[in-house]
């Protein structure tokens, strides 16, 4: 029973660290990326509006750029979704490896 408790404790320790490394850090990075995207979009819109007012851009070019930003937002969302999937895959693999490692460490 003592061996099993030690095994469970070891798994908990490893999985806790794994969750921090793969999931919590991803969440922080994803939020930072989203903020950066929004800030860039805002700056671009301001620039294009100024260029339109100055006659440097035609109306249809301005609309093209705005629609392009929408396309970019979709690509950004696809990237975020993909990175989330990759982090989840890494976490699942890590949990399995943690169980294996703890079993060898406890019982061998």
């Amino acid at each position: 029973m003592a061996d099993f408790n030690a095994f469970v404790g070891e798994v908990r320790t490893q999985v806790s660290q794994l969750a921090q490394n793969t999931l919590s850090e991803f969440r922080t990075a994803a939020l930072a990326d989203a903020n950066a995207f929004l800030n860039q979009a805002q700056a671009d819109l301001k620039l294009w509006t100024t260029q339109l007012a100055q006659g440097l851009l035609k109306q249809d070019e301005f609309e093209d750029l705005v629609k392009g930003e929408k396309d970019l937002a979709e690509m950004n969302a696809l990237k975020t979704a993909g990175l989330a999937q990759a982090r989840l895959d890494a976490f699942v693999t890590g949990v399995i490896n943690a169980v294996i490692s703890a079993a060898f460490k406890t019982y061998l």
């Binding site: 070019e61 396309d71 294996i100």
Partner: protein, 153 residues
Amino acid sequence: MRRRRRTAVEKGGLWVALALAAWVAQGCSTIALYSEAAYRQATAAKAEALILMGKANEPFDQHRAEVDALRLDVEKAYEYAKGEPKNTLSTRQWEILKDPKGNLLGGFLARWQKEGTISLTFIEDKRDQVSRAFDEITGLETGKNKPAAPKNP
């Protein structure tokens, strides 16, 4: 009641079961692994696209062959992504980028072809957008999990 001791066979079977579970888990990924080839295709296409877009203030007919070459390279990258299993997100990114009815690279090349030349201001603004679009593609690719290193023979 005394606990029955595990036999050597049962202990060995436990390790085999755990190893098998690890092996199965490794194969149950939800997204494709990182591809060096896909990354190189994207970075090469980005450089090619940005250079060519910079020439769009010149008549399209003077650069038709270069545009065709770029479209072919982008199509190759798209087909490569599409052919990889569990790679729908990267594939969809390429679709958005190359769509001639869209508003990124494909749409820009279509506009250039239709209008003949494009203003420098629009070129610079659209180049920035297309550059960011490629960065979204390479950002996803580099964020994928790396395949296991091959063992030395």
